[in-house]
Symmetry: C2
């Protein structure tokens, strides 16, 4: 059965990736419709599904769609998701609007596709969460996670196409001695880093940092698993990297973990240090699997500690791929 | 009393910074002599101390110097340091050759200048160690460090002038669609990161990572303080950043720590998140003080945990400044 698919926010970085991933994974599309702001409506986009006229998202008739991918903004999702599901359309929401709503499943298909249940609205996790959760869950299943400490190296794609453009344009300005400006980021990004993503919370963590704490617990079905995170923007294009340290309930062994990662879905082990092979943005770009390497016994938690390094494409496993994987589950289970 | 100063490796990135720092801090220089490889000998350098002819480091007569800064390489230091001290010259060695030698003090003047004792040879710590140690020692004094977990964001200056040149030249190549090559680094650095600095050890940590463990213990006068570190090269110019999580013996309070940092020598607190002020490479570049911010209660270690973010100029506190500070101690204490 082929499905009628809508992408709300089709002109954005994530929307465009969803179109590519649908094609690449041979998702059974009966008709693809693209929606964006009134400003873009009426323009057309060349896609692997043909040239498609963009429609105004405000005027979408959700009864004409089986699945809608929401990739505009949190407030837009908040205003429109229930309208869509009431019209019988499944909504896969890329924003954070519903992720912390107990009534809405937050899903990484490799981990908790069962959580979808009967819900017509499914939240797609934050990019940083999704990329870390894939290897963390393998460890959690086998050893039980007791403490998780994460420091991130996040790409400019997290701020969409505007973020990536600002990095390349302003880097040119920097190198040619022209003034460097910043609009997508709070500070200039060329040859710099910014330890601040999303807004600061009362506890002095950023919302981006707290998303990892809240979402990982929800996806793993835990309540108070201790996680702490520092999120940092660095001048890379579209791959988030994360340095992760864990303490586990049971003693943990790096060799055994490497074997588990090698057979786990969604992971590409890149851990051959003798040949200088480890996860990097340039190798993880445009890859579906999350690269995991530098797997080694941690020096602080003794035989209950492990550390490793992860690189995942922010626009794929961190957004579009995970969303399409949720659609694949819906298709197999529900439609 | 003015001193006769020699810089061995004067044409390198660290050597050049030492010249600037000596001038900037009004170090009492009677005569500055510059040494480098035979290839550079005979050329001249414009310095704040006048135009100076570079001499061949192999032919240095150390009896003509009071203090020599060694900034060539570990093997060169190994071969020449004792010759210099036997001739009555104090040696401040920027390499790792003697850092782990129990007979040689490893010194950060803000922390352990007393360790110099009667030694004529003093080791300058690794850049990553020096930058982290300044705030860590303030915490250690007040609360006792129990566990330290570090992830770094290290600049290309760690590979010297060649590293910084490779970043800017290859970034231009990348942006103009030309081939990107790598010589200073194991992989291309533009818009990438590399979780690998220095050689891999038997325990699968890099030597750069283990330097932080070994050196911090030695400088703090500890033996087995648990520290674990992941060192990552990122595309920045000359400031190392570090995301640091600590567990302490006594309960720790972020407000109290911030106050301690504010009066500590060598630290500039940058921790005003309401105004988007936190440590960054673009603000820490060419600054003597290490910037510390994002100071907050850690979410994993409860009231015994804290995390913070540090940025320090790799060529200054991470190398030249600390070396000149050691020379200042020698001048005040010994000469």
């Amino acid at each position: 059965m082929n499905l009628r698919i809508g992408i709300m926010g089709a002109t954005g970085a994530v929307g465009k990736e969803i179109i590519e991933v649908l094609q690449d994974r041979s998702f059974p599309v009966e008709r693809l419709r693209l929606y964006a702001s009134a400003r873009s409506a009426g323009k057309s986009m060349d896609t692997p599904f043909g040239n498609i006229i963009i429609e105004d998202a405000e005027n979408a008739d959700y009864s004409e769609l089986d699945i809608a991918f929401f990739a505009i903004s949190g407030s837009w999702s908040q205003a429109n998701a229930r309208k869509a599901t009431n019209d019988g359309c499944f909504v896969i929401d890329n924003s954070s609007a519903f992720r912390y709503d107990d009534a809405v499943p937050l899903v990484i298909p490799e981990i908790n596709s069962d959580a979808i249940g009967d819900s017509k609205l499914i939240a797609n996790p934050n990019c940083t969460t999704a990329i870390a959760a894939i290897p963390l869950y393998e460890i959690h299943k086998a050893y039980g996670l007791k403490k998780v400490i994460i420091s991130t190296y996040q790409a400019t794609s997290g701020a969409g196409a505007a973020g990536m453009n600002e990095l390349s344009e302003q880097t040119k300005n920097y190198l040619e001695g022209r003034q460097v400006i910043n609009e997508a980021f709070a500070h200039p990004i060329p040859f710099n880093l910014i330890p601040h993503i999303d807004s600061f919370q009362d506890n002095e963590y950023t919302r981006e940092e707290m998303k990892v704490v809240w979402e990982t617990n929800k996806i793993f079905g835990e309540k108070d698993m201790p996680i702490s995170c520092t999120c940092v923007r660095i001048p890379t294009m579209r791959v988030h990297a994360e340095s992760i340290v864990v303490e586990t309930e049971k003693p943990i062994d790096a060799v055994d973990v490497r074997k588990r990662f090698e057979v786990a879905k969604g992971i590409m082990v890149k851990d051959d240090i003798e040949n200088d092979i480890y996860p990097m943005p340039i190798t993880a770009t445009k890859k579906y699997d999350v690269e995991v390497g530098r797997i080694r016994q941690n020096l602080v938690f003794g035989d209950h500690g492990l550390e490793f390094f992860v690189c995942g494409d922010q626009l794929l496993k961190g957004a579009a791929l995970n969303a399409v994987q949720i659609a694949e589950v819906l298709k197999n289970k529900k439609l």
